[in-house]
Every structure is written in C-alpha cells, then in structure tokens.
C-alpha cells in the first residue's frame, strides 16, 4: 500500500489514478460521515462526489506533513456538508416552508466524534496484525488481558505490550488527526 506521501505526490502531479486510489481507500468513510451528518443518502452521495472533485481541483493544498489524507478528505467533506445545510436553509427561507429540523442528534454524535471514530478505525487498520487483533479483542469483545492471552495463545506479557503500544499509536494518531483535538489538547503528553 502506497503511503499518503506517495499518493499526495502522484495527486499533485496530476495523476488521476491517484484520485481513484484515494477514493477506493477513503470513499466509504467520506460517505459515512456525510450520511451521518445529513441523514439523507442522496445528499450524502452528492457530498461524497463534491468532496473528491474538490480534492482533485485543490490537490495542491494537501500537505502530508499536516495530517493524513483521510483527515484532509474528511475536512473537505465537513465543509461541503455545511455548504449543503446552508443552501438547504436558504431554500427553506425562499419558499417559506417550515421544515422540521433533523431529529435532535445524540449528544455524543457530533461531527468531531464521527471524524475521530473514522480516524481511530483507520489507524487500527494500519497497526501490525497481531497488535490490531489484540486490541480488537479488548475493544469489541471486551476481553481482559488474561482472556486475550488464553484466546490467542500469546504470553500475557506480549498481550500487555501489544495493547500498550497499540493504544499509544491510536492516541498519537488521534492527537494529530482528531477533529476536536485542538480544544482538548492542553499541554504536552508523556511519551509512553
């Protein structure tokens, strides 16, 4: 799998195949975000399309040093969603229709939360296989370290170190790419 750097390089050089690769890799995450925010499948597909076209025309603006391609694309998608909601609001005023707003969203289900979830999922998928598997058993199946050790046959010490390293990687990525991190960040983190 080519890195974000290489993909960005090809994209900036005008290679349309690089856009296809970015789409294959992240199109479903963009669609998911749009659908969660708009609550409407057709609009979400439109926003996905607009996002990748904007990524193409604005490809010079992507700097791999400042974040991953996924977070760049999700950032574009969020702006496209906002545009869409604004123009929908304008349409509503114009026709003077009273439209019931989307049902009040779950308090925790903010755009930032959705982006963070996608970012953590992406990083989880990038971890070394054994580390990822160990963390999935802890996250998804709620298994304890000794249970994971029993299920996988890995020594307890190895499970511990996989989980600690995996958690540290997820946290680092979340710090760099997480949508709302700016507001949460307060001071240096300890190296773990």
């Amino acid at each position: 799998m080519s890195s974000d750097d290489e993909l960005a390089e090809r994209l900036r050089a005008g290679d349309e195949k690089a856009l296809r690769t970015a789409y294959e890799r992240h199109g479903s995450a963009v669609l998911y975000l749009a659908q969660r925010l708009l609550g409407n499948r057709a609009d979400a597909e439109d926003v996905t399309q607009l996002t990748f076209v904007a990524a193409w025309t604005g490809r010079d603006g992507y700097d791999p040093q400042r974040g991953t391609m996924l977070s760049w694309l999700l950032g574009i998608a969020r702006r496209k969603v906002v545009d869409r909601l604004r123009s929908a609001a304008r349409d509503d005023r114009a026709t003077e229709t009273v439209r019931t707003q989307l049902p009040p969203p779950d308090e925790r289900e903010t755009p930032e939360r959705i982006v963070d979830r996608l970012v953590v999922a992406d990083e989880l998928g990038r971890l070394p296989e054994e580390q990822r598997r160990t963390l999935e058993l802890a996250f998804f199946d709620d298994l304890t370290h000794p249970q994971i050790s029993a299920v996988t046959g890995l020594p307890l010490g190895t499970v511990k170190s996989h989980i600690r390293r995996g958690m540290a990687s997820l946290r680092r990525r979340w710090e760099v790419d997480g949508a709302a991190f700016g507001s949460r960040s307060a001071g240096p983190s300890r190296a773990l």
């Binding site: 900036r12 050089a13 010079d60 953590v120 999935e136 996250f139 997820l170 946290r171 307060a186 001071g187």
Partner: protein, 237 residues
Amino acid sequence: MQHLDPDRLVLLALSEEPEELTESDHLAECAVCRRDLDQFREVAELGAESQEVRDLPAPPDRVWRAIESEVARTRSTATPVTDLAERRAHRKRPRRWVPLVAAAAAVVLAIAGTVTVDRLLERRETESVTARATLSPLPSVSADARGSVRVLADGQVEVDVRNLPLTTGFHEVWLLDPDDPTKMVALGNLPDQSRVVLPVPPGTDLNRFRLVDVSDEPHDGDATHSGNSLLRGTLTS
C-alpha cells in the same frame, strides 16, 4: 512524585481493573496522569465505536462515475498549468493536443501578469541588467507569493522569490516559450535562501524563452516539468 505506570493506565482506561486507593489519590493530585488516563479512556471508547465503521460499504458506482466526469470536465477547461501536468502523464502518446496548447498559450500571456520596470529605483544597476520580470502567483498559489527576475549582462539570471508555498520536493526555475509552452529550458533549482543567481545556458534565445516559471518539483527523478507552476512572469528588456 511517582507517576502511574503506562501499563496500569491502559488497564484502568479499559476498565479492566478498578483503581486502587493510592492510584485514586495520585490521580486526584496529578494532572499529567489524569490527562493521560482521560485520553486513553477516550481512545478506548473510540476504539470500541470503531467496530461500527470497520467494514463500511463502498459508495455505489454512480458516485465515482460522477466524480470522473466532473474531473474530465475540469480537464477540458484547464489552463496551461494543467496541460503541463497532462503532458507529463501522457507524454508517451502522440501529440494530439497541440491545438489545445496553442489556444492555451494565449491564457499564459494573460496569466503572466504585470511586468514592471523600476528603472528609476535601480538606475545604478541598469547597465548590467538586460531584462527583467516580475513574477506573479498562479491562481492556485497564495496571493502573497511573488518574485522578481533580472537577467544580467554576463548571461546569468538573478531570481528573488518571496512567500513560496512549502514543498516536500524543491523549487525549479524554467524559461518557457509562451508561444509553445511545452518548450522550455531548465535553469536550476532554488535553494532555501530567497535570492539566487543561476546561469542561462549559452545561446538561449531570451526573446523566445521569455516566460519565467517557478515550479514545485517532487523528488521523483523525473527531470521534466511537474506541471505544478507556482509563479510566472514575462521578461522584458
């Protein structure tokens, strides 16, 4: 003060084991450990939620088809900047696009921007300067990027650039033929300092290759123009 062990923080974040009294006491007092624990808890929650987005279905084909046709549309209205990129991508193909480039050359001249000749301000240097150009940013580049070029009587050019976008590759200076922007002469690259003097290959016709172009080049070992132009300006004597 003894901080909590990282392994222990992770166990607590995963709610695998309850806090011991001494740990609770420490956390009540230590902002560093408290923040670490909070962040690990958040990451663990996000990790659990990530199951939901692990195997997301791909968007339907119509989304990609719409993207493709929109990209094709932007290509047909492209400026010469994109044409250079196109050329790089397709340079092994026959040159079917020549008429397009000719049409685009007119746009180059429009983009080339204003050329100012500050003879009064630089009178003392005019004897040694045979031509100069003011470089303006292309539309995709931040508006405060700029530069100036002076061709010196000894056949060298002095290039002075400001506020170029950062690059992971390098910046290269070219002389283009505005009547056929696929024809160009590479002058060399710009090191970190803003002002540099580069030799022009002897015999270069500066009346023909009068469009100065500064590009962003990736480290891809491809010596041709990347198609990613940043600044341009036309030399006048």
